[in-house]
């Protein structure tokens, strides 16, 4: 049972008027007589007319679709960001095409290619941890496709971005540990290939400075975010004569691996060793010994703000050359569990 989808042409024929009149009537064009307008709209409704989006996209040279590239969807953190983007896009009648880079820069490039070929109107991206150059994003400029970086934002000038500042919350977090009597606070940092701002480290150092506690560089170790990488990092920390009594972990994933490993080594969490981290992952509340505090980064809001910024760019025709890059910084929040 084939179903013929009605077009304005058929509406026009039935009413013995021209297609342009129909088009205008459907768009509430002011120059159309009330009578005609009503007639058209009535018939259109009866026929279940629906504009052919592909025709409109073609005609307008716009797809009303945004591309969203994320490292992965597995982390609840990024899923929240998606919701933020989707909700904002929905308000503007836009669709969202999602791609996962799986933290591989090659896939990131691939996805970007696909999205460009499919003529997305704009792109939102949280870069992969391998991404050290944003040349592939700068390419889009040639196609007049604006890009907004969010969350994992490359630390370079002349981009549009939305991120959540971690500096002050980190100071707060480390100070919180100092106040609890800890003096040896370690920091497990993420991969340094990450071309993003290093606010965690800066905050970590500043907190020491404020409390006049010397930074012990050997307490700063690195993980590639894999379970093994984190285990190596924590193992190193635990091997010191004077073990750290508290750890600032790059994120809740790292915190979980850290806690698991420490437990295996028979350490009592939040007694022998305390953990503070980032992301404020809801699941940690199911743990017997979750991190005692975590920095909330508001991924939903980052997503929606980034999307709004993108729409602003899409709707702004700027004079050649001038281009005020916008960088929106949200505030993170230390949540004590």
């Amino acid at each position: 049972m084939e179903h013929k989808v009605p077009t304005i042409k058929e509406i026009a024929k039935k009413l013995n008027i021209s297609v342009s009149t129909v088009s205008r009537a459907l768009h509430d064009h002011p120059s159309i007589g009330l009578r005609t307008k009503m007639q058209v709209q009535k018939l259109a409704a009866e026929m279940n007319y629906e504009p052919n989006q592909t025709a409109i996209q073609f005609k307008q040279g716009k797809t009303f679709t945004l591309g969203l590239i994320l490292p992965n969807l597995r982390e609840e953190y990024f899923s929240s960001a998606i919701s933020g983007v989707e909700d904002a896009a929905f308000k503007h009648n836009y669709n969202v095409l999602i791609g996962q880079s799986h933290d591989l820069v090659d896939r990131e490039r691939n996805i970007l290619e696909t999205m460009r070929k499919h003529r997305v109107d704009g792109v939102l991206v949280s870069i992969s941890k391998q991404t050290n150059s944003i040349a592939h994003f700068e390419q889009l400029d040639k196609y007049n496709i604006p890009v907004v970086f969010f969350d994992r934002v490359p630390d370079v000038p002349n981009i549009h971005s939305v991120w959540c500042s971690l500096y002050y919350s980190t100071i707060e977090a480390v100070t919180f540990l100092f106040k609890k009597g800890h003096r040896q606070v370690a920091y497990i940092q993420g991969p340094q290939s990450l071309n993003i701002k290093n606010e965690r480290l800066e905050g970590y150092i500043e907190a020491h400075k404020r409390e006049k506690i010397a930074v012990n560089e050997s307490l700063i170790v690195t993980t590639d975010l894999s379970k093994e990488g984190t285990e190596d990092a924590i193992e190193k920390l635990l091997s010191f004569k004077t073990r750290p009594t508290a750890i600032l972990a790059f994120n809740d994933h790292v915190a979980l691996d850290t806690i698991q490993y420490a437990k295996m080594k028979k350490l009592k969490i939040n007694k022998d060793i305390s953990v503070v981290s980032y992301a404020n992952w809801p699941i940690t509340s199911y743990l017997d010994s979750p991190p005692i505090a975590s920095v909330e980064q508001f991924p939903y809001e980052q997503g929606s703000r980034a999307t709004e910024l993108l729409f602003k760019l899409l709707n702004t025709k700027l004079p050649e050359g001038s281009f005020p890059y916008e960088n929106i910084v949200l505030k993170s929040e230390l949540v004590i569990h």
Copy 2:
């Protein structure tokens, strides 16, 4: 710096040939002379020609886009399904438009409308827990948009579907508990509004039958999957004189809430009470007392199989009337932790 995207028309002009020749040359049409073909392809490459997808979509009446509707993206379970769908779609050069119903049937309808208006070529869906009628999906038939249900599949005839059978794994899971000496095995089931097959319950009953243990109906309680709902359910179970010693939980989320509540009531997990569940959520390995076993449902594979089935439908032109509905059933697996 505006960037003019090249079209076949310009290629044609530069080579003093017609657009149709260019079009054919680019498509390796057999009737084009090797010389011309080479010329065209060379110039196209030099000019960075890329076919305008929106034009092709319009012309072909196809968008090369699939719609994917999921209850949410928050659960790692569904994220895995997405990866399965994306990877399969990518192979066919298709894009995927994702929507979250948030388990609300109204949103599910909305998303479906949007997708239909954007003329997706086909739809994949895991229904919301409110979805009791699939009328809105049947509508798509009129527009020749095939629908494949997967994972959460409505229990009605004449649909295409892919799901993971839980019957045998459930029998295995319950029997596993019996073998461990449990005699009072409770079952916390999901919302009965869910219009899906009730294989968990069937397996639960069959396991009792096989071991000749009477089913105690009061041990079958219901949660709406919310934390509170689950707490009410488990509270009821714990209030009985002869408390169950084991629980079959609807999924790992329910299991986590169950375990947390039981702990709060000072029960020793896997001693006073054992828990077995569904989904095999990786995160449970971080718990001190995870479910002792979980049924793996292979969401990635469900997603990819469903997508392949959808492509099969898209590429099959069937004679009017005839329509062999396909229902692919995968096998689940009990994973002992």
